[in-house]
Assembly symmetry: C2
Homo-oligomer: 338 residues x 2
Amino acid sequence: MTTKRARPTIRDVAVQAGVSMTTVSDVVNSKGRVDPATRERVLTAITQVGWRPRRSARALRSGLTGVFAMCLPVGHVGVGDWLVNAEYDMALVAACAAATVDSERQLLVAPRPKDVRDLARLDVDGVIIADPREGDQALTVLNNAGVPAVTIDRDIQRTDGWWVETDNAGSTVQVLDHLAAQGARRIALVTADAPWAWFEDTSAAYARWCEDHGVKPQVRLVDVERPRATAATGVRSLLRLRNPPDAIFAIPYGTPLGALDAIVESGRSVPGDMLLAGGMDGQLLQSASPPITAVDLRPVEMARAAVDLLARRVNGELAAGPVVIDTTLRIRESTRPG
Amino acid sequence: MTTKRARPTIRDVAVQAGVSMTTVSDVVNSKGRVDPATRERVLTAITQVGWRPRRSARALRSGLTGVFAMCLPVGHVGVGDWLVNAEYDMALVAACAAATVDSERQLLVAPRPKDVRDLARLDVDGVIIADPREGDQALTVLNNAGVPAVTIDRDIQRTDGWWVETDNAGSTVQVLDHLAAQGARRIALVTADAPWAWFEDTSAAYARWCEDHGVKPQVRLVDVERPRATAATGVRSLLRLRNPPDAIFAIPYGTPLGALDAIVESGRSVPGDMLLAGGMDGQLLQSASPPITAVDLRPVEMARAAVDLLARRVNGELAAGPVVIDTTLRIRESTRPG
DNA sequence: TTGAAAGCGCTACCAA
DNA sequence: TTGGTAGCGCTTTCAA
């Protein structure tokens, strides 16, 4: 009477199947040097004894953990007048998890540590950093420790090409062209003066578009801590101009609502008197009255591309270039006059 | 000329400090049997050689991986007329990650696999399941595999006590009392007929409260796939009654907006003609016009409690009972008449 | 096509 | 208070 209560190991499988541990290992790792019949016996034995390989043993021997880590962008702690779009971040996390699983890996979520150097202690095969700050120290730390990393969104100081980004210039032009096609002649921009590529690219593309179309750019900046309220203030000042804009493109999440507040307050209507578009789609814009046209930043595609890019970097590819994801404009009532 | 380019191991530290590997191990694991002076030397050596322990080696030897997994509730794939509250889920994930890190562990996020049995193959010390379905197969699989698990929210079929839940009955009473205190005499409930404890507890508490206060319960059910639209339909039918309600408590996320749609459409105003409260707080309710009173389900506290509970279960405690978290009512303009 | 044996880095155990 | 050594479960290497 054998009392084998402990969790089965590869040895138990080998005994059960009447082969060596090596053969079992080769079967589960698809080394393709095993006779089909043997293979079948091994697979049967695996289910019979209920074996599941231990990641730690595998990792110790092979030198790879089979785990990617994802650094969350910021704190998510409650309801507030946020810049944060939780849907976007949640989609990012869920899609990264799905993509790592598809590549036979697992995804660790890591909060930003107080001490960035702790990032190098994660003991993973690679790290995905969402929404990097300018000159992000995390990247320096990881590079020094030899841990492969990629970012979702471009760090404006970086040039190494290991990131995934949306086509911000393209999406800006798309929005502005759409507004112009709907009859807008004077399109104002509401954005933030913060060191993220998204804001920089958008502002630059807006300035260029205005120049190309011979119109005067009108920009209002918001405080990223209070996007809605400060956007409303900015738009109020636009509406008091002698020649006010007839369309507003509000970039940071939450600012289209502030713009709408100011427009309604002035007795104007959207889209009748003023067109309105947002730079980042979300429930808040979709369920506004009227629903607001906005740019879908494709978090799912970004996440999948990031995992793919990281896998390439881990595999030793020297440069896979930045990956640029096309955005999609979600056209809603706020830009459909008449 | 030594060419030591490989990642340092505990042996390198031991050599550098002139002690045994055991001593180094004891220092980093705070075994407290090391002389303070030796300890100092070891710590210095660790930074000198830049050693960081490998989780996999540690795990292989100790039998514990130091990793918890979290099963995400549902797919997060884009903007829609959702029941899903991404802020809540994101807060859950972020707080779970923070709490596991505080307990010297790491958090893996796992999508729900096609085959639930894959959950047992995760090779982690424990699993947190957010938002379990009724009689969740995942729990059965994990139990059979001997993997400790806890859930966030109660599976109504379960009795083992390994879960964390909000005080749904208490929060319902709190909302109803608040509405009554604001002058409401006939409070209707908008909820869903879905097998989650949240809905069941709330409905039961509502029925009891109505009985206790001698008022007739009025319930409308929504389709969880289209909460806003179907809530509007339900509320419209309430407003056509000979004796319509003067307050509405709408539970599923998104339904307070549908209720508001129907109320405004009927020419009534909130809170002037009708009070309105929501069962789950979020940006959508906070930024509605008027801002809607709602129950804060405390995702951060839920997450921390879940990690704590799982740690107890992993440590072999036999029963730590269900943990009940008190909710907080966020009172806003929608329930402040006059 | 298969197997035997070494060893990945760490900690538990026992001895000093 | 410290050190030596065995061995966790797996994959790799080399031999058959």
